[in-house]
Amino acid sequence: MDEASVARGGLAPRLWLAGGWLLLALVAAIFAPLIAPQDPLAQDLMLERLPPFWLDGAEPGYWLGTDSLGRDLLSRLIFGGRIAFIVAFAAATSACLLGSALGLIAGYFGGWPDRIISRIVDVWMAFPPVLFAILLVAVLGTGLSSVILAIAIIDWTRFCRVIRAEAMSQARMDYVESARIAGYGRMGIMLREVLPNVLPSVVALLSLEMGIAVIVEAILSFVNLSISTDDPTWGSIIAEGRLSIHQAWWVLVFPLITLILTVLSFSQFGEALKARFDPVLR
């Protein structure tokens, strides 16, 4: 066991840094009403465009400054995190379940199921994803569930392709043949023998996809197609910040940093988890 933990040592900082940031952001989002210093929707034109705390003219209690309507930026970021995480978890999980299941079937069974699923994936991926998302939300109507649905509908192909390739290479392994000889059914082999071997990839992709979902949600917010405009989302804050970049750069910069850190953390966390999950890499 000692050797194993030494080998893991190299991965640990990445895992802890990424995991730490995600945990912090998640806790802040969950307990937003308790943690946020101000009401994220409260406007006060007396307090418009306050700079962050270390600059002249900052007000106590408005740590990261305010936007052009005098709303507290930190509070808006914290509340925006709620939507970001809900979308990340719900959309990524849905995309993952759908894509992985189809990918596993296509890769393991091959033949006509594979041909059908692969053709659908090819066609699906020919659509430009962001345009597709905007179209879908335009058709489904704005709102949290539409955004989640749109992301899941667009991004399942990502899982499908990778898991199909992995399942295919696993299906060629002798242990699958041995299980066949021993008398296991095909379904049983797929779920009990092949699935555990593609699971590390599923986990890594899932985490990566959460980051992507956060980006897509931000893009949709940016073009005003996400949630109702009242609720703060990272994308909508960025959109607002863009307009006042010359007067109040912080309104653009802080949500961008938050977004980038979160997306990066999701992908790094996924990679580190994969390395942990995979007995061969471990």
Binding site: D174, S178, R180, I181, G183, N197
Partner: protein
């Protein structure tokens, strides 16, 4: 072994073709009597592994059996429906595979992987399966079964993995084991031990083995009977001793001269004689011309 007993495995006139119609097995007949080791020897591509896969019901989709019968203890596999065939194969046969790394599931520990089959397929209770596995690990001379049972496949050496697979193959007391080049992927030093182990367990359990190999040295050590395969055709069949004493077919003779000898390690390697191969190839081509599936 009394002559009136049913063969453990009986293959009669088995022919198989690829999707493009090319013949890969040419009316192969061979039998393995209970408790007997029959070597199936031939160069790569001769179809030896194909025969093993056919018996175990795991031929690739591109290969189609067009004629012939395979009987396991008198039961014709071709007459059983797929489910009954799977059950019969699962209960009476086992495989010792060529590559001990890919033959074990990399993400599952050895213990559960070995007992799983006994419990889930054969319906043993966990305790009995566990005891059985430990007994078999002891038989294949694994000294620290606790560690091995808890290990993942990649944590064991190639030799250890092959021992585990041998133990697993014998665990359910199959009547017939197909050993598909079980020593080819191993170091030469380990090969010998593994071969000895297989021979030992085979004697102790009285299991019939179809031993697929390209190595005549291995054939001499382990088998009582030999079938020599060339291009999917059995060209010679004999008792092992008789074959080595007096090979009848020119191809067998050529194969033997091509085998390097320890007694004369500096002699240059001799390839199989071209004229022998040319003769064989012509013979087979002629037979293929005349051949129609179902008419032998």
């Amino acid at each position: 072994m009394s002559a009136n007993r049913e063969p453990c495995l009986d293959i009669r006139g088995l022919s198989a073709v690829l999707a493009n119609g090319q013949r890969v097995l040419r009316s192969v007949s061979l039998a393995v009597q209970p408790g007997e080791v029959r070597a199936l020897v031939g160069e790569s591509g001769a179809g030896k592994t194909m025969i093993g896969k056919a018996v175990l019901g795991v031929l690739p989709k591109s290969v189609r059996i067009v004629e012939g019968e395979m009987l396991i203890e008198g039961e014709d596999l071709g007459r059983l429906d797929p489910k009954a065939r799977r059950t019969l194969i699962g209960a009476r046969t086992a495989l010792i595979p060529q590559d001990p790394l890919t033959a074990l599931n990399p993400s599952r520990r050895i213990g559960p992987q070995m007992t799983d089959r006994l419990v889930r397929i054969l319906g043993w209770n966990t305790e009995r399966a566990d005891k059985r596995i430990r007994q078999l690990l002891d038989e294949v001379q694994i000294r620290d079964p606790e560690r091995v049972l808890k290990s993942y496949p990649h944590e064991l050496s190639g030799g250890m993995r092959q021992r585990v697979l041998i133990a697993a193959a014998f665990a359910a007391e199959p009547r017939l084991i197909v050993a598909d080049e079980p020593t080819t992927a191993l170091d030469v030093t380990v090969q010998k031990q593994i071969l000895r182990l297989i021979a030992q367990l085979q004697r102790d359990h009285g299991t019939a083995i179809l031993f697929v190999t390209h190595d005549l040295g291995v054939v001499a050590k382990i088998s009582q009977k030999v079938s020599v395969l060339y291009a999917g055709k059995v060209v010679e069949e004999a008792d092992t001793e008789a074959l080595f004493a007096a090979p009848q077919h020119p191809y067998t003779r050529a194969l033997m001269t091509a085998t390097p000898r320890y007694t004369d390690p500096y002699a240059s390697l001799k390839p199989v004689d071209e004229s022998v191969l040319a003769g064989l190839t012509a013979e087979i081509a002629a037979a293929d011309q005349a051949w129609r599936p179902g008419h032998g």
